[in-house]
Symmetry: C2
Subunit: 236 residues, 2 copies
């Protein structure tokens, strides 16, 4: 935890926060914080800065706050990701939050196993928990927006044009002729398929929406590896 | 498994391979292969190509081989990595093999937990198993070279100069003033510290060996995320 995140409900007033639960245990067991000690804190979707531990007891910690720094800038990226299997989803949600992705669309695709859509990890509270872990790691306060799109065609035809408006549109496709560009540092909508890739019908539909197929070299990467490698490459 | 890897001992002659064990089960259960079917095969540290299933029984598969393609080119990279915790090590070994890293040095650093060096995952057979999984994923046959260096100073002072000779030398350091370069596509020696980073003494020692400290932006990445993001960025 490189940053301790505060929920709005943790604030007793604008300068005082009360921590309980997981974060309390972390501060006591990992930081072994003592009264008077200063830690990095941030308000979810708000400013970050420091807090001084003023009081501690077994069931709560009181911090006085000085939150005066903006969170780091977002990556101007909408990531369209074919829904991965639950275990990988958890790691990707963390990575996406750590790296500052603006918006994540978890979408269906022909090769997505139908049962994945029933995973308890897709509950809003479960998604939020992984995102918070990622923000704590990356030292950021801003939650990525996460959308679920259970039907590929209506999403790609009806809602995607507005979402992707004004952005460079790329679809990762191992057999593409063009290599993925580097250091765009501009608004991007990036589609990454499931293990095994998008089927040709899906790639064609994305191409009709202005997406350029791009490859990442001759190697086949796991989805979570491709996500991170592409983020490291597009935004520098 | 995007490529089935053959050990030299699997070859009955230059054109015939016999598979047993994990790979047999994979071919029977996942590929559901039938006699006459063609699959992608490669010889570890050798050529890759196709094999036709000629005979199958519950305990062995016979393939006739046409191995005529070179594996994809290596990344000209020596990765110096402070030994991560065992679970993360497994994933990093796979990633390193999937992405074609030439050489990995697992080294000590002040913030590496001593107990990590006793992990059974550091046994040569255990390392090789993860690397093979990574090669199967990436569709490559060439095992990265893996070195273990349990003492930082003698390694950095005595053996590193020869290992890094002729390469651009970078050390990932969150507080560096320079951003990590992009698309070098030339020999690189890249050092990545443990969670929490290298201590100043270690960075100084690497700087004296010609390493440039570089950062990856304002966010703190987990080690495995940093490895993948840096590989995606340095080699395009």
């Amino acid at each position: 935890m490189n940053l301790i995140l505060l929920e709005p409900g943790d604030l007793l007033d604008a300068q005082t926060a009360c921590l309980t639960g997981r974060r309390l245990r972390h501060v006591q067991e990992i930081h072994r914080a003592e009264v008077g000690q200063t830690l990095r804190l941030g308000l979810i979707n708000g400013l970050m800065g420091e807090g001084t531990l003023e009081e501690q007891s077994p069931d709560r910690l009181l911090f006085s706050l000085r939150l005066d720094q903006p969170p780091p800038p977002r990556l101007p990226l909408t990531l369209l990701l074919a829904l991965p299997r639950p275990k990988m989803l958890k790691r990707i949600l963390q990575t996406v939050a750590t790296m500052g992705v603006q918006r994540l669309v978890l979408m269906n695709s022909y090769r997505v196993e139908k049962s994945f859509w029933d995973s308890p990890f897709l509950q809003p509270a479960a998604i939020r928990e992984e995102l918070l872990l990622g923000l704590e790691q990356g030292r950021d306060t801003v939650l990525p927006e996460v959308l679920l799109e259970k039907r590929f065609k209506p999403f790609a035809e009806d809602r995607l044009p507005a979402l992707a408006d004004g952005s460079r549109r790329l679809v990762a496709h191992p057999v593409a002729e063009t290599a993925c560009p580097v250091g765009l540092n501009a608004p991007v909508t990036l589609a990454i398929g499931p293990e095994g890739g998008f089927i040709p019908y899906e790639v064609d539909l994305l191409v009709r929406q202005g997406f350029e197929p791009v490859h990442l070299g001759p190697r086949i990467l796991r989805v979570e590896t491709a996500v991170t490698a592409l983020l490291g490459r597009l935004f520098v």
